[in-house]
Symmetry: C2
Subunit: 440 residues, 2 copies
Amino acid sequence: MRVALLGCGNVGSALAELLTAHGDEIAARTGTRLELVGIAVLDLAKDRGPGVPAGLLTADAKALVERPDVDVVVELVGGIDPARTLVETALRAGRPVVTANKALLAEAGAELAALAAEHGVDLLYEAAVAGAIPVIRPLRESLAGERVLRVMGIVNGTTNYILTRMTEDGSDYEEVLAEAQELGLAERDPSADVSGDDAAAKAAILAGLAFGSEILGADVFREGITGVRAVDVAYASRLGYVVKLLAVAELVDGGPDISVRVHPAMVPRSHPLASVRGAFNAVFVEGAAAGELMLYGRGAGGAPTASAVLGDLIDAARNLRAGASAPPPRRHPAVVRPMEDLRSAFYLSMDVADRPGVLAAVAAVFGRHQVSIRAMEQVGLGDEARLVFLTHAAREGDVRATLDELRRLEAVDRVGGVLRVIEPEVGDAGVGAAAPAVGG
Amino acid sequence: MRVALLGCGNVGSALAELLTAHGDEIAARTGTRLELVGIAVLDLAKDRGPGVPAGLLTADAKALVERPDVDVVVELVGGIDPARTLVETALRAGRPVVTANKALLAEAGAELAALAAEHGVDLLYEAAVAGAIPVIRPLRESLAGERVLRVMGIVNGTTNYILTRMTEDGSDYEEVLAEAQELGLAERDPSADVSGDDAAAKAAILAGLAFGSEILGADVFREGITGVRAVDVAYASRLGYVVKLLAVAELVDGGPDISVRVHPAMVPRSHPLASVRGAFNAVFVEGAAAGELMLYGRGAGGAPTASAVLGDLIDAARNLRAGASAPPPRRHPAVVRPMEDLRSAFYLSMDVADRPGVLAAVAAVFGRHQVSIRAMEQVGLGDEARLVFLTHAAREGDVRATLDELRRLEAVDRVGGVLRVIEPEVGDAGVGAAAPAVGG
């Protein structure tokens, strides 16, 4: 099987090295020999390291995709243009495509999947979400018969690293971000990560797989981590929670409506996602029959992502040889429930004047908007007091109206942290909640 | 696609219910209609509940497998006979088989895989290891190109429940076992679970997938949890470890020799496997390129296991329609390194007479056998003292010789706990060890 590689950054060069240095070993293990026949790059002069055969480099990606001796195309260019045109050209020529391009899939995944199906070839993208972690294939194949209820992912390593450090060292966001940039764990311009944009693209892809939704990445509600304060992370910790940036796709009220969103959330410490630390990623799936599953591992990095691409490549090569292709995911235009109509428990903290009647006035605002308080704590801060609330599940629109009104109260100086709370009973992998284990 | 179901216990009846009550939904979601045409059971008179259509029951499994209108066979009979004959009959008739039968696969997996390949049909067994958790397909497909270094699984829910309770409540083994039996979390006769036999069969299957080994379940070294004492679990906890029953398959010294074994081990609290509590299962995989992965979920129970069977069934039906079949796993007769030649760190505790010179005598025994001590603690117990040692990595044979000699020392009253220790640096998902996350 002759492979054309488009793009040769971190992942591309790791893949080139796997295919050239370990080609015999892979052939022995899998029965499939993958021969790299060309690598399209923008800059022919750039040094790619010893693992990348210089003789295979070309600046003409389009010509490479159209070369008659190419069997399979790997797209690691990233972004929309020219990646989209190249992928479409390959699929139209009957060539399976393996891609790690989350931005392209979040924008045009449904059209590309339809094009692949039309030409009877594979479009595989295990590496597009959560790097080396098998997520796409389990959702598409292992859980094909499963009624998926919810998918919650920690799918951005940079933000999980920052939140982990804030949790474990009590550091401030800006401080940890600066340090992460020093260490190469965050980009110089970290906005795509910290804004939730990167996670939103992945949420759209996961929603497509789990629910057949055609939601675009651009339409996914997102809230980043720039507003997460050390003080709220510390309160969360005292209350038994860990703050995580979650990409969520779920059935609302049992379906058919779905919700797809990205935001920081307080996750109970007993939840499997709470123990996902540093730059690691994980995707937690709740199915009607399967129960709770979690897939965990390295979500980024050249070699781990190349490993996922290689798995897809072997699959595509086998299917091509057998004249088969992976079934396209079902696509149904799902109705996405607007954010303000969702229900969630909330954590809210605010600084208020420390004088009689203030708490009553604040509590009255909650009551007027049907937001019921589950727990409350008051801490003195000189002339001010800090109030921390945990609410019962409430409609997001009602919580927003509560906050708007609170901000207008004269006695409220500042509304600080606002975090959605994952309820402890959902996904508690505790001993009590464990499935019967008779028979192992 | 017409499905014959052999066996109708917990898993079989959950599967029958999925196929009958949710058949339309599954067809809409997957494009594959699965029609249950017969269910072979031993006792026709037994009530199977409302989810199992009584009209499909038959006592003649062989006739059902051979019925000309059957496309796919699901084997949930368990055990070797008559399951093996039924599976062979189906494969010889060109019918794909989906099975959850770990005992059969651990005894005859290689032969059955060869038979399936010879007849060009699928033999799929996702449900045989770790219930609903996608483990087999990720190892077989997602990681097809990956050089797997090690697989470590918590694959028996009963023993993980018992060890979790011992860890969290400080209870004794017998006490927790009795309670687990009351709760239906352990069998009346728990020996297959607590002896490690069940986990050993799964270890053999995992070794076959990861390394192409043809080791039989019966040949896997196993040590159960009956010797794990509350006092050792408590010491482990103080030292920062959790005791887990692990099924391990790994390359020794970079390969090609492998080790396949089951034993209790002290796992560092920071390791992802340490947070797998109660009856949950998880499989941790270390790959050369992919790094560390963990697949987590419910390892048992009717509905979760039926979900895994259903995923395989959909796959088998699609392959059959496409005239394709999943590639058989590569099989290479791997050389299994004998247990006594493996190296591991050890935890050892012993009660000794509390008098001068004893520690020196004990330490001298360690030294004579080249077992180097990493940490040691002495606790007074009246006239006795308890010595707790953590060793550096040492050859298992040398540790055994050390223990034999120590038991013969007049001053040593009893050698108590002996536990292998997973080194903290391996698989530490800590912030420091995290992969670079640039680009998400």
